[in-house]
Subunit: 583 residues, 2 copies
């Protein structure tokens, strides 16, 4: 018999003072996690049951594709990271890799990811295309030295991750495997009750040729999803592009200078050049950036007058680890003018100029004159000034035209899954190759696929809660049903509650009897806060075998025969059965 | 359909050059593990299946006792370790705790164990004796900076551990919980097919009032089990004591000096004192020890003439991290004599003298004279020289009298489990208390219980193998049965093998079809090396529905109907069914 009186239930009215995310607040109030340090959380018994269900669903979907589970080490020698070139990246450029030193002096990384180990492991056993495609995966801890751990389980220093690695003989096959895994991801998120959207994403430090994220819309999310109402375009705003129409070029006229006193913004500038639409202006913004090596650089970032600069795109384009608007002194030194009059013509020599791709299609434009109260007009790339280095800098916004013809809208979202088609970067670095049907040995194409388990649970809570607490979907609830005897010690109620719990357990339903010696209000509030999908209450009508059956999601309650309650709950459980036991 | 052709099977003829343990040799040859660094092994898919079965058995036995699983963090802040006094112990005295530093400068330990976290977690939710007894456990990675990782999976820098923590209101209840957990351990080891013995053990750095180990006899073992043929006494030689009978004291005579030229051993000394039996001699051995702080000290260790010194006991008694026999120069400086004539009377002042408990009962003894070619006789403690500091230093040996009246024998063994009754050390340090029935708040009694999962698997291999490979017990085999089609591509054989595999899977038997395009000899050798308990071979008689059924443990083979083979294997699997899925 499984009883709540035997479990450590530590619910509380108030969330921790620093809990901003709803999922953090509710999981903490439900006693399901406990903070062990900055970005470190002990997973309590109830939350672990949910994580194990998530892991089981993930295993089931991977095993169905023939993926093989294994277990890499968390401690990783430095050499393979040196071979792939990532030791520097992950310990200096973006130092998320924690390290430790053994008593013999060896430096080991605490795996933030396992591409190097995945390449090495396969290099030992794979030699022929006939062994491919192959997918290996593990469910294990990842360690990341997050600069700002926050939002409870959404961003922590260690977390459980399912990471998979695919191996294919060529690009076409690799793309197919990548697509099969991405489809499995969609199936996993659907099974756990999470609303997600697949979006194009940045490959980042991982490298590779293709990447997609699965984003779960949620108010606390750190990512923004740009999606088109036409339905076929979705991308993280880190990589999203609006479909900008190039403005028609005007007649060629020589570049001239316009007096524009006080016109430091697009709005105040417009009256001085009433014939030039904003999309035929080039906006120049000055930034001070910090490079990975700690150096300082001044950047002039250019975009169309009707657009703006996405600073995370700018950071990526320039290799900056920090980006800040330039201060007035920096602007004066770069432009010899007050702020507001910067432009590409005649900037100081030491300023690096980077433009968004869209400016290349703008000709005969207006831009700042690098002199106070002055702009230039009828400026032509190539004729009056060289086209600068181009990159994706454009910030997409709600209402922008989408590449698929629709209109983009932006949604805050939590990234719950990320897939990468890596190409041969890691296999070349670490000696993983296979002979093709023609007998020629070639580097193996790899892919990499990750789901953060605790974050997945938190995202489910972000999407499934109400003012009373968590509303777990049946598939991932810590227990499917709680059976409450209203008055502990009442023989009719206790007898019925115990019998029902036993029947549910026998029917393979994960049920628990709340037999605690506590007031009914406490038991009901705990059940709602923890969020068990079903509550069966043995109360006044227990002697007659009648119970209240309550569905947490809606609060709907019916008074029914105990047997009906058991079969109703068992039916729901059956629909969401997880095969935790791979045979 | 589960097929070996889809799996990464990388068997090899030769073990790694440095593999001394049979389990390391066989697991490596079977392609079940791959070395990732010193003391670091990637667990391949087949071995992971075995580990998951071990974990499931362990979960089942813990859950049956009402234990609750949770997940502590691996990274642990320094403060709780400081509170318990173990930061110093585990980072300096015996520095097995690896550490890392975050970018914000915080120093974190990589959990080698979790008593501090276990006390903290419970402190948050436990307040009353009515919530106790309670047992929490996790199955997670432990990190240990082993000075000499070796023997494959038997001693590594990271490994999976089931660690449980018990909480009781008082000592009597704590002792009961400790005993229940110890019984569960015995049940677990029996289920996984491991022959183990429970033995008294050293509490070590853990502290506490009681400790026992589960030792699995194996030739490679680093521990020695002393067990009595009378049956009731078993102890690790680290703490084992022989039942020594004190020699009768002779008549009091004044101490005198005997010329003993060249008598530097017991054998050569005997003729000079023919009336004194060896048990009435006191042997003095000089050691140079290194303390935790790095200091050097000379120790004179005393034991009876018929006994010897156990250096690990000496290290423990003196707090030494390293113990070495003193060299001739050290001996001359301590005794002013050539080596072989040391004794307790008149040693240099700066020598620390420690005697085994048994010497206290020896009077009128012979000992070295601290002068070359000289011994003393008729030496009495208290009269001629002060009784030194006493400790357990005696080395037990095969044939020693046991405390229970029997005779001790020594067996090499692998420690696979360790249980500790901790007392209130951690709960006092970390503020974990509960009110008793009398309303008075008292520190909670804790216990700590560990099983190393990879080591458990290796111990099973140490006990279950033959010259062809591993012989997995059914309960923990990576697959229960392999179905071999002798000639890949033969439609009768393939058809039958596929049908049988499907039937086994439907009967919930973990079976796999070896459909690889390889010679039969290769398939048979792989099956034997990997050690699947059953092999069903579809060969020449496949058309008639007949197969060979082979039991790996004995090699016994019968030709039987396919249906009989399926039911025979299913029956064995049923007896060893593991409920991997806790409902």
């Amino acid at each position: 018999m499984r009883r709540l009186s035997n479990q450590l239930i530590a619910t509380r009215r108030e969330p921790p003072a620093d809990a901003s995310a709803v999922s953090h607040q509710l999981l903490a109030r439900a006693g399901m996690l406990q903070q062990a340090g900055a970005g470190l959380f002990t997973v309590g018994p109830l939350l672990l049951r949910t994580l194990q269900r998530l892991e089981a669903i993930i295993r089931e979907e991977h095993d169905a594709l023939g993926c093989q589970e294994l277990r890499f080490t968390h401690l990783q020698p430095r050499e393979p990271w040196e071979a792939s070139g990532r030791w520097q990246t992950l310990t200096e450029d973006d130092p998320i890799m924690l390290r430790t030193r053994t008593r013999s002096g060896a430096e080991l990384g605490l795996g933030p990811t396992h591409e190097e180990q995945a390449a090495l492991f396969a290099a030992d056993g794979v030699s022929s295309h006939r062994q491919l495609p192959m997918v290996l995966y593990q469910i294990a801890t990842k360690f990341r030295d997050e600069p700002r751990p926050r939002s409870g389980l959404l961003r922590t220093k260690e977390f459980t991750m399912k990471d998979a690695y695919s191996y294919d003989a060529d690009e076409a096959s690799a793309a197919q495997t990548y697509e099969r895994l991405a489809e499995a991801y969609a199936a996993i998120f659907a099974r756990v009750g999470l609303d997600t959207l697949r979006a194009d994403a940045d490959v980042g430090a991982m490298g590779g040729t293709m990447s997609a994220e699965f984003l779960a819309p949620a108010g606390i999310g750190e990512d923004f999803l740009a999606s088109s109402d036409a339905g076929s375009y979705r991308a993280n705003t880190e990589v999203a592009r609006a479909a900008l129409v190039a403005p028609p070029a005007p007649e060629q006229r020589p570049m001239s200078t316009v007096e524009t006193p006080g016109a430091t913004t697009m709005e105040t500038l417009q009256p001085f050049v009433p014939d030039v639409p904003p999309e035929r202006m080039v906006k120049t913004l000055l930034y001070g950036i910090t490079t990975a090596e700690g150096g300082q650089e001044v950047i002039a970032a250019l975009c169309r007058g009707d657009r703006s600069i996405d600073e995370s795109k700018l950071a990526k384009a320039t290799g900056a680890v920090e980006v800040a608007m330039a201060d007035a002194a920096m602007i004066r030194s770069a432009t010899h003018a007050d702020p507001g009059y910067a432009g590409p013509v005649g900037l100081a020599e030491d300023v690096r100029v980077v433009g968004d791709h869209a400016i290349a299609e703008v000709q005969g434009f207006v831009c700042g004159g690098n002199a106070t109260d002055t702009h230039h007009r009828d400026v032509w790339w190539g004729r009056d000034v060289a086209l600068p280095e181009l990159a994706d800098l454009d910030r997409v916004a709600d209402g922008d035209p989408a590449p698929d013809g629709g209109t983009l809208s932006l949604t805050r979202a939590v990234e719950v899954g990320h897939v990468f088609l890596l190409g041969t970067r890691y296999s070349e670095a670490l000696g993983l190759s296979a002979t093709g049907p023609d007998g020629v040995e070639r580097p193996v194409w790899m892919g990499s696929y990750g789901i953060g388990i605790e974050r997945l649970a938190a995202a489910v809570v972000e999407q499934h809660h109400d003012d009373k607490g968590i509303v777990w979907p049946t598939a991932v609830a810590p227990h499917t049903a709680v059976v409450v005897s209203v008055r502990a010690g009442d023989p009719d109620q206790d007898g019925l509650a115990e019998r029902i719990t036993g029947q549910l357990l026998d029917a393979d339903v994960d049920a628990v009897w709340d037999d605690r010696d506590a007031r009914p209000g406490v038991k009901f509030a705990d059940a709602e806060l923890i969020g068990f999908p079903w509550r069966i209450t043995a109360g006044r009508e227990a002697a007659g075998g009648r119970v209240e059956l309550t569905w947490r999601a809606t609060g709907e309650t019916e008074v029914v025969d105990a047997d009906y309650a058991v079969s109703r709950v068992a039916e729901d459980a059956r629909r969401h059965r997880v095969r935790l036991n791979p045979r």
